[in-house]
C-alpha cells in the first residue's frame, strides 16, 4: 500500500525570504529619512512625516486587528486619548513627552476596560462595538467642552524646542515620527516572533484548540490590545503636537480609524511589515492630491483608497505582502516531497505495571434540552493505562471528552485529576486541565490553518518551553516522530485529513501531557500508518502517559486498549478487556440491533 501524500505542493521554508526581505526593509526605512533630507522641500518633509505616522498607527493596529484577528474600527479612541492627554498637559505647562507616557498609560487602561467585555463578540460584532465606543468618546469629547474645548478644538501654545515637541526646523519632527515608527515595528516584530505572537495567531485561528493547548486566550489578547492602544496613543500625542491643533471630530474619527485598518489590510493583515508597506504606498496619494489639486480633488484620495481596498479584498486577500511572498517563493516550493510516515517507535522490552489512578470520573450527567446525552458515567484511568472508549454514533463519547477536558460543564458529577505531587484537583476550565497535564485532540480537526505545521506544533510546545528556539526544537522532534517532518514549512491548510489528524496528535504531544485524550485519531489514516500509529501510542504509553482513546478503527481498539468502555445512549453498557467486550451481547445489540443478536443466538 502506498502512502497518500499529505499535501499537494509543500512549499519550502521561508529561508529565501529573510535576507532579501531584510534588505528591502532597510531600503524602505532608509528612504523614509533620506528622501526628505535630500530633497529638503517642506512639503516633502510633511508627506514623509505623515507616512511615518500612519505606518506606525497601522502597525500598532495590526497587533490587535491582524495578529489577534479582532478587527477594531475604533482605534481613533486611543489616538484621540494620546492627542488630548498631550494637549491638555501642554496647556498645564507639562512637556508632551510626559503627556505621551500619560496618554499611553490611559489608553492602556481604556483598551483593557473596553476590550474585556467585547472579546466575546466575533467578526463584525466586535467591529460594531468598537465603532460604538468611538462614537461615545467623540460625543463625550464634544460635551465636556470645559476640558476639551468642545467643537472648537484645542490649539497648542507655540513654545519651541525639544521639550515642547514643536520645532521651526523640519527634521526634528521627522526624527521623532521615524523613531516612533521604529519603536512600533520593533514591538510588533518582537511580539510576532515570540510566544505571545504564536498564541495570538493560534487564538485567532481556532480559539478552542488554542485553549486545549493551554493558551490563556483572554489574557493574551488583553496584552495585545493594551500594547496596541498604548503605541497608538503615543503616536497620537506626537501627531497632535505636529498638527498643533485637534478637535473631537478629527481625532475620534471613524474615517481615521478605518484608514488605519485599511493600510494594514492592503499591506497584509497580520504580517509584521505589511502595514508599513500599505502606508508607504497609499499615504502619498492623499497628501499629493491635497497638495497639488487642493479643493478640486475633494474626495479623490478617498475614492482611490476605497477602490484599492475593494480590489485588494477581491484579488489579493493576503495583501501586498502576500503578493511579495508568492513572488519570492515561486521558484522554491514545488519540488515533490516523499510522503512521511509515522516513525517506527522503539518499544520498551518490558511493560511497566499500571500505576495509581490519575483521573477519576464519577456520576457525570449532561442534558441538551430534552436529550440525555450523558447518564451517570463514571470510570477511573490509571497511570500508564490505555482506555478505549467506543460506542455507536451519537452515544455521547465526545460529550464525555468535552466534560473531562473542561470544554463542557457537567450538569452533575465530578471529574478529578491527580497532580504529579499526588494531590487531587477538580479542574474547571480547559486551562486548568492543561495545567494538570491533560491534553486532548479534536474529532473535527482544529488546525491553526494560517500557520505552518511547525508553528502549529510549537503552540503546543510553548506550554513547557517559553523560549522560541527550544519550542521549535521540540516541535521538530515531535514532527519527526509523527512523520510530519517533510511539511514543517507548509501551511496547515494544505494538509489532507490524515495529515491534519497527525498534526492534532503532534500538537498535543508537544505539550508533554501526562494524560492524553485522543478523539478518533486513526480515522482517515491508511493501513500502514494505523499499524505505525498503534506502535507510537504504545511507545507513548510506555513513557508513563495515560491515554483515553475514542476510536472506531477496531484493529486499533483491540491492539491498544487495556480496558474498553462501551457507551450507548449516554450510558456505560459494558466494560472490560477488549476481547470480552466485543463478544458482549449488549454491545452487539447496541451496534447492530436486536435482530442480529437473535439471529446469532
Amino acid at each position: 500500500m502506498t502512502d497518500i501524500p499529505l499535501t499537494a505542493a509543500p512549499s519550502a521554508g521561508l529561508s529565501a525570504f529573510p535576507r532579501r526581505g531584510a534588505a528591502a526593509l532597510a531600503l524602505v526605512l532608509a528612504a523614509l529619512v533620506a528622501v526628505p533630507v535630500a530633497v529638503g522641500n517642506p512639503f516633502i518633509y510633511h508627506v514623509f512625516i505623515t507616512i511615518c505616522v500612519f505606518a506606525a498607527l497601522s502597525t500598532a493596529w495590526n497587533i490587535v486587528g491582524g495578529y489577534a484577528g479582532q478587527l477594531s474600527l475604533g482605534h481613533g479612541i486611543f489616538y484621540g486619548l494620546g492627542a488630548y492627554c498631550g494637549m491638555l498637559l501642554v496647556g498645564a505647562g507639562i512637556s508632551p513627552w510626559i503627556g505621551m507616557v500619560a496618554g499611553a498609560a490611559l489608553a492602556m487602561l481604556v483598551a483593557l476596560a473596553i476590550s474585556y467585555p467585547c472579546f466575546r463578540l466575533h467578526g463584525p460584532f466586535f467591529s460594531l462595538a468598537t465603532i460604538a465606543f468611538l462614537e461615545v468618546f467623540r460625543v463625550l469629547a464634544l460635551h465636556f467642552r470645559d476640558l476639551t474645548g468642545g467643537a472648537t478644538g484645542l490649539m497648542i501654545p507655540l513654545k519651541f524646542g525639544w521639550a515642547w515637541m514643536v520645532f521651526r526646523d523640519r527634521w526634528p519632527p521627522l526624527a521623532i515620527a521615524f523613531g516612533l515608527l521604529l519603536l512600533t515595528l520593533a514591538v510588533a516584530w518582537w511580539m510576532r516572533t515570540h510566544r505571545i505572537g504564536f498564541y495570538l495567531v493560534a487564538t485567532r485561528e481556532r480559539e478552542s484548540a488554542a485553549r486545549a493547548a493551554g493558551v490563556p486566550t483572554v489574557g493574551t489578547r488583553l496584552v495585545a490590545v493594551a500594547v496596541s492602544g498604548a503605541l497608538t496613543a503615543m503616536v497620537g500625542t506626537f501627531h497632535a503636537m505636529y498638527l498643533t491643533f485637534i478637535e473631537p471630530a478629527a481625532v475620534f474619527s471613524l474615517t481615521l480609524s478605518i484608514q488605519i485598518a485599511m493600510f494594514a489590510l492592503i499591506g497584509g493583515l497580520g504580517t509584521v511589515f505589511g502595514p508599513l508597506l500599505g502606508a508607504v504606498l497609499l499615504v502619498p496619494i492623499t497628501e499629493l492630491a491635497r497638495g497639488w489639486l487642493g479643493a478640486k480633488a475633494l474626495g479623490l484620495h478617498g475614492l482611490v483608497y476605497g477602490l484599492v481596498l475593494v480590489l485588494v479584498v477581491l484579488f489579493l486577500p493576503n495583501g501586498l505582502m502576500g503578493l511579495v511572498s508568492r513572488f519570492t517563493r515561486a521558484g522554491a516550493g514545488t519540488r515533490g516531497v516523499q510522503a512521511g510516515t509515522v516513525a517506527a517507535a522503539p518499544r520498551a522490552a518490558e511493560r511497566r505495571p499500571l500505576g495509581e489512578a490519575v483521573i477519576r470520573v464519577e456520576g457525570l450527567q449532561k442534558r441538551f434540552g430534552g436529550l440525555h446525552v450523558t447518564n451517570d458515567v463514571g470510570f477511573t484511568l490509571r497511570e500508564g493505562e490505555i482506555l478505549g472508549l467506543i460506542g455507536p454514533n451519537g452515544a455521547g463519547k465526545t460529550t464525555v471528552f468535552n466534560m473531562i477536558s473542561g470544554f463542557l460543564k457537567p450538569d452533575a458529577g465530578s471529574v478529578s485529576v491527580r497532580a504529579p505531587d499526588g494531590t487531587w484537583h477538580s479542574p474547571g476550565r480547559p486551562a486548568d486541565f492543561a495545567a494538570l497535564g491533560v491534553g486532548r485532540t479534536f474529532q473535527i480537526v482544529q488546525p491553526f490553518a494560517a500557520m505552518t505545521v511547525e508553528e502549529n506544533i510549537m503552540v503546543g510546545a510553548f506550554y513547557r518551553h517559553r523560549d522560541v528556539r527550544e519550542a521549535r526544537e521540540v516541535a521538530r522532534e515531535t514532527a519527526e516522530r509523527m512523520g510530519l517532518a517533510p511539511w514543517l514549512g507548509s501551511e496547515a491548510r494544505g494538509l489532507t485529513i490524515g495529515g491534519l489528524k497527525r498534526l492534532e496528535v503532534a500538537r498535543v504531544m508537544a505539550m508533554r501531557p501526562r494524560v492524553l485524550l485522543l478523539d478518533e485519531v486513526m480515522a482517515g489514516i491508511n493501513q500502514t500508518d494505523v499499524r505505525r500509529a498503534i506502535d507510537l501510542m504504545l511507545s507513548i504509553r510506555d513513557t508513563g502517559v495515560s491515554i483515553i482513546a475514542i476510536e472506531h478503527v477496531m484493529q486499533a481498539v483491540m491492539a491498544l486498549s487495556d480496558r474498553v468502555i462501551v457507551l450507548s445512549s449516554g450510558q456505560i453498557i459494558a466494560q472490560g478487556s477488549p476481547q470480552d467486550v466485543v463478544r458482549d451481547a449488549a454491545v452487539i445489540e447496541a451496534y447492530l440491533g436486536k435482530e442480529f443478536v437473535h439471529a446469532h443466538a
Binding site: G69, L71, P124, V136, L254, A297, G302, V310, V313
Partner: protein
C-alpha cells in the same frame, strides 16, 4: 403632560424613520449573513437621486420612487454578485467587513467628487407641513414615513412567509447547502435578497430626502443608528428591527429633551453596547444553538 406626549410622539416618528432605514439592513444580514457597512451609503445615493429627480426633473418626491427603487435594487444586486459572492466561499469575516467598508468609502468619496461637500436640500413639496393630532404636532412627512415603515415590515413578512420566492429565501437562510440540494439557485436568491434590502433603503431615501439635508456623509449617521436598531431587535428579525427602531427613537427623543441634545448618542450607543455585550441575540433574535460536537 402635553410636553411629554409631544416628546413621545417625536420619539415614535423618529422610530419610524429608523425602522424604514433598518429593515433592509436586517433582511440582508438575516439571509446573506453579511453585515453591510455600505448600507448608509446606499441611503445617501438614494437621497441624491431623489434630490436630482425632484429639483432637476421637477418630480414630486413620491414619484421619484419609480426611479430610485429600481436603481438601488440594481446597486444591491450588483454588490452582492460582484463584491460579496466571491468572498462568501472564503467565509472570512475580516475580508467581508473590509469589502463593504471599502464600498462605503468609494461611494462617500464619489459623492464628494460629484456633488462637493455642500448640502443639497430636496424641495419639501408640502411634506414639511405640520399636522395637529390631538395634543401633539408632527410633520406630514414623518407620518408618511411611519406608515410606510409599517407597510414595508408587514409586506416583507408576508412576502417571506407566503410566496414561493419568500420561502426559498428563508430556506437559504436556514441552511444554504440543503437549499442548494433542493434545487434553489442560492446565488440568485442572495442577489435578489441584497437587491430587495437595497430597494427598501431606496424607499427610505425617497421619503427622508425632503425632510433632511443630503450630503456625502448623510448615510453615516443613519447607518450607525440602523446598526443599533438591528442589533437591539435581533439581527435578521424584521419585526424586531421595527420594535427596536421605535424603542431607540423614544430613547433618543426622551434623552434629547430631558438630558441634553448632545447626550442622545451617548444614551443610544450605551444601550447598543449593553445589548451587544449582555444579550447579543437581541430582543427578538433566535438563540444561537451551538453544536455539542465541536466545542
Amino acid at each position: 403632560m402635553d410636553v411629554f406626549l409631544q416628546v413621545l410622539a417625536n420619539g415614535v416618528m423618529l422610530g419610524g424613520l429608523f425602522a424604514i432605514v433598518s429593515v433592509g439592513l436586517t433582511l440582508i444580514f438575516g439571509i446573506v449573513k453579511v453585515v453591510n457597512f455600505a448600507h448608509g451609503e446606499f441611503l445617501m445615493v438614494g437621497m441624491y437621486l431623489t434630490y436630482l429627480a425632484v429639483s432637476g426633473l421637477g418630480l414630486h418626491p413620491f414619484a421619484a420612487v419609480i426611479l430610485v427603487v429600481p436603481v438601488l435594487f440594481l446597486l444591491g444586486a450588483l454588490t452582492q454578485r460582484f463584491l460579496i459572492q466571491p468572498l462568501l466561499a472564503a467565509g472570512d469575516h475580516h475580508i467581508q467587513i473590509f469589502a463593504t467598508v471599502g464600498l462605503s468609502t468609494v461611494l462617500i468619496n464619489l459623492a464628494l467628487l460629484v456633488f462637493g461637500a455642500d448640502i443639497a436640500n430636496t424641495p419639501p413639496s408640502g411634506l414639511r407641513q405640520p399636522l395637529q393630532i390631538g395634543p401633539v404636532r408632527v410633520l406630514l412627512g414623518q407620518v408618511v414615513i411611519l406608515g410606510t415603515a409599517i407597510l414595508l415590515v408587514a409586506g416583507l413578512q408576508t412576502f417571506l412567509a407566503r410566496t414561493r420566492t419568500g420561502r426559498a429565501i428563508r430556506a437559504v437562510a436556514q441552511n444554504r447547502a440543503a437549499a442548494e440540494l433542493m434545487g434553489i439557485d442560492v446565488n440568485r436568491i442572495y442577489a435578489l435578497t441584497f437587491g430587495i434590502g437595497a430597494a427598501c433603503v431606496g424607499v427610505a431615501a425617497v421619503l427622508i430626502a425632503p425632510l433632511y439635508p443630503t450630503s456625502p456623509n448623510s448615510g453615516t449617521y443613519f447607518v450607525l443608528i440602523a446598526f443599533v436598531v438591528v442589533v437591539l431587535g435581533g439581527l435578521g428579525s424584521i419585526r424586531g428591527a421595527f420594535v427596536g427602531a421605535i424603542l431607540i427613537g423614544l430613547i433618543d427623543s426622551v434623552t434629547g429633551f430631558y438630558v441634553g441634545a448632545d447626550m442622545r448618542e451617548v444614551a443610544v450607543f450605551g444601550v447598543f453596547l449593553a445589548i451587544l455585550i449582555l444579550k447579543p441575540s437581541g430582543l427578538f433574535g433566535r438563540q444561537l444553538r451551538l453544536s455539542h460536537v465541536s466545542p
